[in-house]
């Protein structure tokens, strides 16, 4: 059990926990938080698994670097859309979720 495998398994727990939270919550900001944590878990699995018992590998690290930038771009855009939605309707969840 090397250090990298520990982080890969931590990544697995993060993906599973964030996925469950994404399904359970209806508030859009909480879903966004869950989405971000799922992404970070995926990055940890990617690098942890690639470097388990092997040399540090620049290719998955570069892919994760790209992934972080894309994640922040999509989070920022999602926040702007959420704020427009909130300004237009005053609600923080999508209409089909509001039945509860």
């Amino acid at each position: 059990m090397s250090a990298e495998l520990v982080y890969a398994l931590v990544g697995v727990i993060l993906v599973a926990a964030a996925f469950g939270a994404f399904m359970a919550h209806t508030h859009l900001l909480r879903r966004l938080l869950a989405f971000n944590i799922m992404g970070t878990g995926c990055f940890l699995i990617l690098v942890g698994l690639a470097q388990h018992k092997r040399a540090p590998d620049p290719v998955p690290q570069a892919l994760v670097l790209t992934g972080i930038v894309v994640a922040v771009a999509s989070t920022a855009l999602a926040l702007i859309l959420f704020r427009r939605w909130f300004a237009a309707t005053g609600r923080t969840a999508l209409p089909e979720e509001d039945d509860e």
């Binding site: 926990a17 690098v47 470097q51 540090p56 994760v64 972080i68 989070t75 926040l79 300004a87």
Partner: protein, 85 residues
């Protein structure tokens, strides 16, 4: 052996911070725990021999995303407060 213990503790810290960010009752607290989570992940990247990714995660993942989310949560609070008045 000692470094493995450190990795296990850091992993535990990551999971606890993430669970706090996902399930906190107060949204502001959830975002603050998300920023904490981002900084701990930067430490994890250092342990995974990826300093470039650690720099980017701390600056963009924790810093900028945290600032964006705090801005949104503050805006949400301000707007709902003015509606109550």
């Amino acid at each position: 052996m000692l470094t493995l213990l450190f990795d296990l503790l850091l992993g535990l810290g990551l999971v606890v911070a993430a669970l706090g960010a996902l399930w906190s009752r107060d949204l502001f607290r959830a975002v603050v725990l998300f920023i904490v989570f981002g900084l701990l992940v930067a430490l994890a990247w250092i342990r995974l021999q990826a300093p470039d990714v650690a720099l980017a995660e701390a600056a963009i993942g924790a810093g900028l995303t945290g600032a964006l989310l705090l801005d949104a949560v503050g805006h949400l609070r301000r707007t709902s407060r003015t509606e109550d008045e």
